[in-house]
């Protein structure tokens, strides 16, 4: 296997008076130059997976399984080795960009920081690259933004600054956590183009986390649907959109405006109290008695894997 990222049986839990498991046995892999999207309702554990890969979770998080990045086991690296990878080969774009940027440093300085720490670039050199990156993201006069501060701009602007900062070193794997959240359609188009260009030119792979299915459809090669901390369906994008198999995936597509805006009944369960049996059964229209008792396995067949008894 020459996967760029290979996540196997990833389990994440949190210590506490009563320890809780939030992610159970999630496995997926990303090849070089491939884009994978993780979709699901908010609160299903998408961001936790992203943070677990970069080892950014709080110390009380317990991570099990294996995360291989270019053949190296990330969970066994020291914090120092991890720091060398982060931002350099493995970068992330957070949601809520206005808070992810440091309020007291100029954009120029924050964008140059990855260059300064990973490549030890000089000031003029770094500035040149920062200007280029800003221009690429559609800022017409980039010089203006070197001495600009995050609190002066809008959320959309900050989102683009953040993308520039995360992609400036052309990481081999970029994790984008809801990059389209809170942006207007025109801006989403720009972000989409930038991510696409990055994949084409820098041969970067993308782990896209989103609940915007339209955005996902245009960017991702593969889609993994996450429900209550586990993958319920994994398929190629084209295949997935043609015919989703898992009842939850069908529900997700059905709730899109172009498909009739039909919401999935009920609420997503909190991660700490997942239902017994199939976790989706309380909301599932095809619920059978077996679903209440037994937990289905993820079964692979015909280019896709689905976690449902109907599929087996």
């Amino acid at each position: 296997m020459n996967s760029l990222l290979d996540v196997k049986k990833l389990k994440v839990g949190f210590e506490g008076a009563k320890p809780v498991n939030v992610i159970s046995e999630v496995s997926f892999s990303i090849q070089k130059g491939e884009n994978l999207a993780l979709v699901g309702e908010s609160g299903c554990g998408k961001s936790i997976i992203a943070h677990a890969i970069l080892r950014l979770l709080a110390p009380e998080a317990r991570i099990e399984g294996s995360i291989l990045f270019k053949g190296r086991e990330l969970l066994k690296l020291s914090e120092k080795e991890m720091a060398k990878l982060r931002g350099n080969e493995l970068a992330i774009i957070f949601q809520n960009a206005s808070h992810a940027l440091n309020p007291v440093y100029s954009i120029g300085r924050q964008l140059a920081e990855p260059l300064r720490i990973h490549q030890k670039s000089g000031k003029t050199d770094a500035t040149k690259k920062v200007l280029k990156a800003l221009a690429q993201l559609g800022f017409s006069s980039p010089e203006k933004y070197l001495k600009f501060y995050p609190s002066w701009g809008s959320g959309g602007m900050n989102q683009r600054f953040l993308i520039a900062s995360s992609t400036i070193l052309e990481p081999e794997l970029l994790i984008a956590d809801e990059p389209s959240k809170g942006l207007d359609p025109a801006r989403i188009k720009e972000v989409e183009r930038e991510l696409w260009v990055l994949g084409k030119e820098a041969k970067s792979s993308l782990l896209l986390i989103s609940h915007d299915l339209g955005f996902v459809r245009r960017l991702a090669d593969k889609i993994a649907v996450l429900y209550s901390g586990e993958i319920v369906e994994l398929a190629k994008t084209s295949v997935f959109f043609k015919q989703p198999r898992h009842p939850y995936s069908q529900g997700l597509l059905g709730s899109l405006p172009e498909n009739g805006f039909v919401p999935i009944p009920g609420l997503a369960p909190a991660l700490c109290e997942s239902p017994s049996g199939c976790r989706f059964h309380p909301r599932c229209p095809f619920q059978k008695e077996k679903c209440l008792r037994e937990h289905p396995e993820l079964k692979a067949r015909e280019e896709r894997a689905v976690r449902c008894f109907l599929w087996a």
Binding site: L54, L56, E79, K80, A83, K84, L85, R86, G87, N88, A91, I92, F94, N96, H99, A100, L101, N102, P103, V104, Y105, S106, E113, P114, I117, H118, Y149, S151, W152, L162, S165, S166
Partner: protein, 316 residues
């Protein structure tokens, strides 16, 4: 933006007016003969001279007139005359303030550095033994009256161990002599200033390190110490600027007590002697000067804040 600037300016001006009027009103309102209150007690002057002074000081004239005369005198830097020291108050103050400012300045600088550094550490890793020890130590320190600590230092390091001279600013006017004389008093004051900065910064770092930008700094590939000192500390120390300014008055007062203990000939001893001798003109002059120094420190802090925090000087 503009309205807050106007508001601030107005507040500073009112503060200034309040200080000046207090200084004018106190000797006239306080019980006792205003002449005595203006020239000081325990000074022997004959009744004839007193009446002459009353006329000279204009105490028989209406208050408004007196106030205008007082303002005019202030503008000429005329703060009255000390009958104890036989010289104009302005001159006496001028002689002493330099040393005190040196003393306070060095201590505040050292204290800020020490407090920020240790506070940042203690906030970053609040569970370690060292952090807990530091926190306990600094809390205890902030509960001690400054002069008591000065007494302890003087007793232990100067009397018992004989490591440092125990009085005055210098024997000979050389840098070495001044440094050895100032070492103990500066340490005491710096520790006090540090204890306040430490506690603020500790709390502030504990809060700031949970902010998303700190996590993003980690995601960029920064390592522990770099995240703390490059990203978190700068945000966390913004409140220190305001604190330093508001603290200036407190530290200045603390300095007065420490000067008295170490017999340093600065403002502190001047005030102490003035209290003992009831030398009111000197006391008033000193109060005016200190109050102005605090006011200026606060104005400077506002400017500094605007320079450091981009959120304050957001362009239109």
């Amino acid at each position: 933006m503009i309205s807050t600037a106007v508001k601030k300016t107005f507040r500073y001006l009112s503060s200034f007016a309040l200080i000046v009027s207090l200084n004018f009103a106190l000797p006239r309102l306080m019980p006792g003969d205003p002449v005595k209150n203006l020239i000081g007690e325990d000074v022997y002057v004959s009744d004839l001279v007193i009446e002459e002074l009353r006329a000279e000081l204009g105490l028989n004239r209406p208050l408004l007139e007196q106030f205008l005369a007082y303002i005019q005198a202030l503008l000429r830097f005329d703060l009255g005359y000390s009958y104890h020291l036989h010289s104009p108050v302005a001159e006496v103050l001028q002689e002493r303030i330099g040393w005190t400012l040196l003393f306070v300045g060095v201590s505040v600088g050292l204290g800020a550095g020490l407090g920020v550094f240790l506070g940042a550490y203690a906030g970053w890793k609040p569970e370690t033994k060292l952090s807990r020890g530091l926190s306990c130590g600094f809390i205890l320190l902030s509960c001690t009256p400054p002069y008591f600590l000065a007494l302890l230092f003087l007793g232990i390091f100067a009397f018992k161990l004989g490591l440092f001279p125990f009085k005055g600013f210098y024997d000979t006017l050389t840098l070495g002599s001044i440094a050895s004389h100032l070492f103990l008093p500066v340490s005491v004051l710096a520790l006090f200033s540090a204890s306040r900065n430490f506690l603020i910064l500790r709390g502030s770092v504990i809060q700031e390190k949970e902010e998303l930008y700190a996590l993003y700094a980690r995601a960029k590939g920064l390592y522990e110490r770099e995240i703390l000192f490059r990203h978190v500390v700068k945000n966390a120390s913004l409140p220190i600027i305001t604190l330093l300014a508001l603290d200036f008055g407190f530290l200045f007062s603390g300095a007065l007590f420490i000067e008295i203990v170490f017999s340093l000939n600065g403002m502190g001893t001047l005030i102490y002697d003035a209290i003992i001798g009831k030398d009111y003109p000197v006391l008033q002059g000193a109060f005016l000067l200190i109050a102005l120094a605090v006011l200026i420190a606060n104005i400077l802090a506002d400017f500094l804040y605007a320079v450091v925090d981009p959120r304050v000087r957001r362009p239109a």
